[in-house]
């Protein structure tokens, strides 16, 4: 399981607005705010959206920890 890629998933938390979720994800992951808004829209529509796949569990956990610190509900799961 450790060799498999890990998905980092952002969930709808009924706490963040589109703007706060988009900004937090954009800053934590280092992507443009416009892409953050797209992801926030997907989360709003589907309840969750995959932000990225990480090669290792450690990388995925570090990103989830950072997202949670930014106030975003994020989880990781293996393929």
């Amino acid at each position: 399981m450790e060799d498999q890629p890990w998905a980092v998933v952002v969930h709808d938390d009924n706490v963040n607005s589109h703007a706060t979720a988009a900004f937090a994800v954009a800053r934590a992951y280092g992507m443009p705010m416009a892409r953050g808004f797209e992801l926030a829209h997907d989360v709003d529509e589907s309840g969750e959206a995959c932000l990225t796949w990480c090669a290792t569990r450690e990388q995925a956990e570090d990103l989830v920890a950072d997202l949670q610190l930014w106030g975003v509900r994020a989880t990781l799961r293996s393929r």
């Binding site: 703007a19 989830v64 106030g71």
Partner: protein, 163 residues
């Protein structure tokens, strides 16, 4: 036109310039101070142990679908995450005073945003007053986020929570 009690606008280069009027700072400062107390203070848990007033389980949601894996994640990362949040809260508290112009650099921007996020999360399931307070804190976050991206908020005056 009267000046708004709070404003956030782009200072260029991704920086944000904020203004905190007296009454605005007087409402925000206790929220940040309360968060810092809740993060640092502990209470007895059994005869010999103590646990934080604001436990990691309340601060950070499950990182896995599985509870056991989530608990292991918190053991690996929780204390470091808490320490980063405490450091950020200390820095924001030091800045949380009436000011006409405070420029938030990248670090300060991050500090303000995450501190407001966690101060807000403490209230979102509480009484009607607490829910209003959470919405107010989120509005401040939104203004800062939009300003950081160079978007001028039309009003730039988060509604007073009237608490």
């Amino acid at each position: 036109m009267p000046r708004s009690p709070f404003s956030a606008r782009s200072a260029g280069g991704g920086l944000v310039e904020i203004r905190l009027a007296d009454e605005f700072a007087a409402r925000l400062q206790p929220e940040v101070a309360d968060l810092l107390r809740a993060l640092r203070d502990t209470r007895p848990r059994g005869a010999f142990r103590r646990r934080p007033v604001l436990a990691n389980e309340r601060l950070f949601p499950d990182a896995y679908a599985d509870k056991t894996q989530s608990a292991a994640f918190r053991r690996r990362h929780g204390d470091a995450m808490r320490a980063r949040l405490i450091d950020a809260t200390r820095r924001v508290l030091a800045q949380c005073a009436p000011v006409d112009r405070l420029v938030l650099d990248e670090q300060a921007l991050r500090d303000w945003f995450i501190v407001l996020a966690h101060a807000r999360t403490r209230h979102h399931r509480g009484s009607r007053r607490q829910v209003r307070l959470a919405a107010w804190l989120r509005a401040i976050q939104e203004h800062i986020a939009l300003a950081a991206e160079g978007t001028q908020c039309p009003t730039c005056s988060p509604t007073d929570p009237d608490v």
